[in-house]
Symmetry: C2
Subunit: 206 residues, 2 copies
DNA sequence: CAAAACTAATCAATCGTTTGATTGATTGAA
DNA sequence: TTCAATCAATCAAACGATTGATTAGTTTTG
């Protein structure tokens, strides 16, 4: 029943270690041990340690902007569209916390400019969808006139803040973001907050 | 007139390099070269590379929660207090972008638990001040009943998002966060947004 | 049997740290 | 005033350990 081939077990081990220790802080020997593979298998399959990193990123990037584009085409008002985007985007990120942490950390470094551009391009698609929805809502008078880029920064920033510093939210409670059931609770709580925040902020009070 | 002693020039060089390359990604030889000092001076003054990191963090932590505490005592309503906190907190962070980026990156790692606790403790003071202000505002009926921890996550997250990914905000414009004049513009824009967001969200519409 | 998958051993390079010697200024008794 | 002693500061060189990567050989598989 051991159906995990060495190649993917290396990818999984590397992602886990990169997320908790950083790229530079993780050695190829650690990855190999964690994956239950020989050290040279890393270079055999991926060419180099950086190749492993690139492969992880590439795999994750694929299909990240797929679900969001369909929302834009649906026959809904802009607020409903925005609520759906927040819902899906938040769930996607909280289902891939390790990757999201790793991404944010390594991209704040000035190394790996190629991966930076690659990821920036992939993410800008998502950003533009949200930007278009809000701008459309403003144009139609459905939303107040606001600083759209800053609103997006608030939405994204809130999610990232919860993912990278969950203890600030859960302090005092018994919740632990590493436990799936607790993470589900936290996800719903975050979505509820973000929807309430954006709806209240963007919808003009009569 | 060369008044920069080796000790502080090592600290400055290290902070600059840590901010752009990460702790693990920066070698002691790099630090020494950048500081114009001999490699062994690092261990002579700070004991180890990690000692340099600790010293930088300790220096920055000092006096970070000083300005905020005075606000709480002032004779203002909770909204006015919150506006002042947002104003000062945002300015402080955008005046120390390199440190803030370095802090967030290294603290998202599972290493250096001692520094993690130290910083967490220092920051929790700031968090508690904001939390108390909002809770007080809710109790007095000045604010709507909201998820306080999530509101704080939105405020902090927005600032961090702008600091770590300024290009998402400035894309299309000629602004560059590395240029002091542009950074000032961005700071004011961020403060305006955060004040507008929190005021609109927390103040109940009649 | 040949290609693919895998292993142990080893490579040169770099890491953080330590060593032992040297410098220049300061001190205190002669 | 002089001179030896002492001090922190600085240096080049080297330390052992670890790094990412490669080799050459073995096993597995289709």
């Amino acid at each position: 029943m051991e159906k995990t081939d060495k190649r993917t077990s290396i990818l999984n081990a590397a992602e886990k270690l990169f997320a908790s220790q950083g790229f530079e802080g993780t050695s190829t020997r650690q990855i190999a041990t964690e994956a239950g593979a020989n050290m040279s298998m890393i270079n055999y399959y991926f060419g180099s340690k950086e190749g492993v990193f690139m492969e992880i990123m590439s795999n994750r990037i694929k299909g990240f902007s797929l679900a969001l584009t369909s929302i834009e085409a649906e026959d809904l008002n802009q607020l409903e569209k925005l609520m759906m985007v927040i819902d899906q985007y938040t769930r996607r990120i909280l289902d891939n916390i390790a990757f999201h942490k790793m991404m944010h950390r390594e991209l704040s470094l000035s190394q790996r400019p190629e991966m930076y551009d690659k990821l920036k391009q992939a993410m800008s698609g998502n950003l533009m969808i949200i930007e278009r929805i809000i701008n459309e809502g403003i144009a139609q008078g459905e939303f107040r006139s606001v600083d759209v880029r800053m609103v997006i920064a608030s939405i994204m920033g809130t999610i990232t803040n919860v993912v990278t510093s969950p203890s600030k939210i859960t302090a005092g409670s018994k919740l632990d973001i590493k436990i799936p059931a607790d993470r589900e609770i936290l996800t719903e709580r975050l979505i509820t907050h973000l929807k309430d925040l954006t709806k209240t902020y963007l919808t003009p009070q009569k």
